[in-house]
Each structure stands twice: as C-alpha cells, then as structure tokens.
C-alpha cells in the first residue's frame, strides 16, 4: 500500500516536471517565433532542451534577444560539428541562465551553419564573455574564424601544429 503511494507520488512528480519543462519550451519558442518569424527554425524540443537554427546573419541578433528578454546570461559551451557532405560546419552555443531561476534547468542550443570552404562567423564575445575560450578552441579545432574575437589563435594544440584543424572529418588519426 505504502509502496503504491510512493510510486504514485513519483509519477505525479515526473508529470509536473514534464509539464513545467513543456511550458518553458513553449513560451520560449513562441516568443522567438513571434519576433523572428521564418528566420529562426526549431530543430528539436526535448525535456529542458531546445535547439534553434538561425542563419549566420541573424546569430548576434537572436543571441542578444535571448540574453535581454529571457535571461540567458552565459554559454556552457560553444562547439562546432563538421558536415563535409553538406559542405558546412555547424556552430552550437549551449546557453544557460544563472539569473533567471525559471530557466535554471534549461539549456537552449543556438546554432548556425557556415560555409565549410571559408568558415567565418560573428563572435558572440560581446554578448556572452564566457564564450571567449570556447570560440578560440573552435577556431583551432575546426578552423572557424570568429569575426570580432580578439584572439583567433592557437590555444590547446601544440605550438608547432602545422596540420589542418584536427576536428575536421578529413583529418584521420594514423592507423585508424
């Protein structure tokens, strides 16, 4: 009897959690789509996560909107994924919030795709100072040049690194 009760409580808790996450997602996505319309594309919506795809021109604008209107104040990570088949590199910013308690568990993935043969993207360093090292790492690992970043330089790789950016898909580990 008691066991049933605890199980019921747990399922109730789960439902409440899911509902809350859904409400957050919906309010976030609605406000973005009303503001940016067709320029922003929703890629997926999961529990406490959502990913939105913007064009490189709208990246700074969307990031500024997320920071000012929803309280996303820092980036947990900024990374890139190489898609040689589409000749594109995808840049992902995982944004979180420390100032808005509602969005504590929430991560919004702001992503954009740039041309792989000449990858250039606007830096978000003036909006989120926390992306400084992440963008620098993306520059050396994938060769994406961040416009407006003060140091597009080597960071983690050896000083004498003279090969291509190692996280590109055509860089192969020897013997594998």
């Amino acid at each position: 009897m008691e066991k049933d009760k605890t199980q019921n409580n747990q399922t109730n808790l789960m439902e409440v959690k899911e509902e809350k996450s859904n409400l957050l997602s919906n309010s976030l996505i609605n406000s973005i789509t009303t503001n940016f319309g067709e320029q922003v594309k929703l890629v997926y919506k999961k529990e406490n996560r959502s990913k939105i795809m913007v064009s490189p021109e709208n990246l700074v604008e969307t990031a500024l909107y997320l920071r000012n209107n929803h309280g996303f104040d820092h980036a947990e990570s900024a990374s890139g994924t190489d898609y040689p088949a589409d000749n594109q590199i995808e840049i992902n910013y995982h944004l979180g919030s420390y100032s808005n308690t509602d969005y504590y568990p929430y991560i919004v993935v702001l992503s954009t795709r740039v041309d792989r043969s000449d990858p250039k993207s606007n830096s978000l360093i003036n909006i989120f100072p926390s992306v400084e090292y992440h963008e620098r790492e993306t520059y050396e690992m994938l060769g994406v040049y961040f416009l407006g970043h003060p140091r597009n330089e080597r960071f983690i790789l050896p000083e004498d690194w003279a090969d291509m950016p190692p996280l590109r898909k055509d860089f192969r580990i020897k013997g594998r």
């Binding site: 959690k17 820092h74 947990e76 991560i107 140091r151």
Partner: protein, 386 residues
Amino acid sequence: MTSLEEKIDEAKRLSLQITKETDDDRLMTLSVGPQHPGSGHFRFTIKLDGDYIVFVDPDPGYVHRGHEKMCEYRNHFQNIPHLERPVIHDSCNITYAYSLAVEDLVGITVPRRGQFIRALASELSRLSYTLYWLAIYGIFLGHSTMFMWPAGDRELLIDLLERLSGARVTNAFNIPGGVRNDIPYNFKEKCLAQVNYFEKRLKEYDNIFYNNPLVRQRTEGVGILTKEDAIKLGVTGSVLRASGVPFDVRKVEPYDVYNEIDFNVQYMKTCDSFARAYVPVLDMRESCHIIRQLLDKMPESGDVREKLQFNIKSSPGETYKRVESGRGALGYHVVSDGTPKPYRVKASVGSFRNLLALPFLLTGSKLGDMPAIYWSLNYWPVEADR
C-alpha cells in the same frame, strides 16, 4: 606616465577579452609552470609590475589527448575507459554524463537499483576528488598537515571504490545502461562505517586548516569574484556557489534518483578565496548525507544494468546531458548519425569554464596571492585540456 592603479584597471578591463601584451621595460615576465611553481600540467605567463600582476595569459594544452576525436573512432562502450582519463579521481562522474547522453540517444531507462548504485559511486568519487584537491590546496599554502590528512583519508574512499569496481582510481564503473556489476557482499555496512568516520574527520579539518589564522589571512578578502562577474564569466561549481549563486545540477535538474534525495545546495556570499576553498568542504558534508540516504533507500534486489549489445546503434540525433561533478557542471554534447560510433562528442567541462576567471582574478593582485587564488578555482589542468 600612468599610475599603477590606472594600469591595473586597464589590465583588468583587457583581461575580460585578453588582447595585446603590455610593452614596458619596467615589467618582468614570469612563466609559471608547467614544471613547478605549482600549477600542475599547465603554464601561464604573468607580467609583474613590482609585486603586482598586471597581465596574465593562460597557456593550457600540455596534456591534450584529443578525447573528442578519439570518441569518433570507438563505439559507446569503448569510449568509457578513455573518457575517464582526464580526471581519474572523479572517474564515476565524468562517465556518468556520457552514459546519460548515450541512454537518451538509445532510448532506454536504467533499472532502479542500478540508478542508486551509480549515484553512490559518483558521490564516493566526488569525495575522493575533492580530498585530492584539498590536499594540493593545503600544500601550496604551505600547510603540510593539510596535505597529509586528506591524502590519508582519501584511502578510505578509494578502498570503497575498489571494493565496488575492482580498480582504485580508473573505475570505468558507470557505463551506458547502468553499472558494470552489483555491489559486493557486506558493502553497505562497510560503506556506512567509513563514511560516518570520514564525516567526523571533516570537523577536524576546520580546526587545523580553516580556523588557522594564517590560512584565514592568506585567503580572506583575496581574489574577489562578485556575483555579477561570476555570472558574466559563466563559471560553475564551487566557484559559482562561493559567489552566492545556489546552482547545483543535482538540485536544479535532478538526474536519476537525485529528486528523491533530500539535501541542500551549499553556497557562500563572501566571494573570496576562502569561500571558494570552503564550499567544497560543505559539499563533502552534503555528500555524506546523500550517501547515507542512497544506502538506506536502495532496493534490496533487482537488476543493476540494462544489457545492451556491444555495438549498440543509436537513433540519429543529438543530445546534451549534464551532471554535477567535483568541479561543477559537466556536460556532454553527443551527435549520432545512426552508426554505433558517435559522430561528434563535445565535453563541456567545469575546469575549462573556470579557467576564464583566472586572468580576471589574478590581474591586479599580488604575486604572493597567486597560489591561494589559482588553486581555489578548483581547476584541474588535465580535464581542461581533454
């Protein structure tokens, strides 16, 4: 000629977006690490004006192994043993996040007993890591006893982890689908006894280290990171909680069984090196409470692991899962293209995020305060390099 204060203000402003080096004959350049003056496998260049630091340039990468690239060549199970290498003391947490991500992609849930056991393993491993860090913090403040005690007490927890998984540090215990094996016979009693003893020892740390007037003088009011700056720099873990933000992933986004566990998020509002050094100790006390509750609420029997094929294929897609590690939020962004190997793995680790606070805090402080500030950031060079 600008005054020193102006120079420091300028350097502090620049350090947020570190730019050109200051050119001045008066300044002395000093390279800290990677061989000694105590920075671990990590080097940073500082420029000194007399006793004051005016410019800091971190140079990580001495232990870069390319884990993110290595992941693309191995399947999810083969990834576990090498992913835990960056922080071998905290191996159960670093594999926890990856396991959660893979489980999300494959779409399975772990049996309830397995969830309890892996939460238990990660709490033990968090204690073990924090003690190791505390030992180093003690020795670099010139307090040898604080090196000996935590290093000795850590053996208790390593013993427990060894009984649990068979290895002292690189456990490879948390795997996608649950844990590798069930807890051994008599483990609960032993674990309870060790943890109760350990909690008593924690009180003695206060007496010998944290209430020591010398330690207080060297850490209190040193390296102030205000709440606004902490949020702006996006720091995490104990550094963030020492600046007055009660953010703990176990609380704000409970994974597995953490929503059934009763514990408090420990934080302080003084924002200085002392707070950053003391919050991990408060966390250790909470961990002891959590371990006792986990042992108490753990189901007596049941599966510990959802058996998966070795070459399990995940559905195409991507996910981002995070856990609270000893150094803060630790997230894995895993992209899958439907093959057994991940297409891209990105680890967002606490050390790499806290590194940004280093130039910010060191600029304008005295050289003598450098160890007290640097080690209070809970920075683990190997993890930051990956």
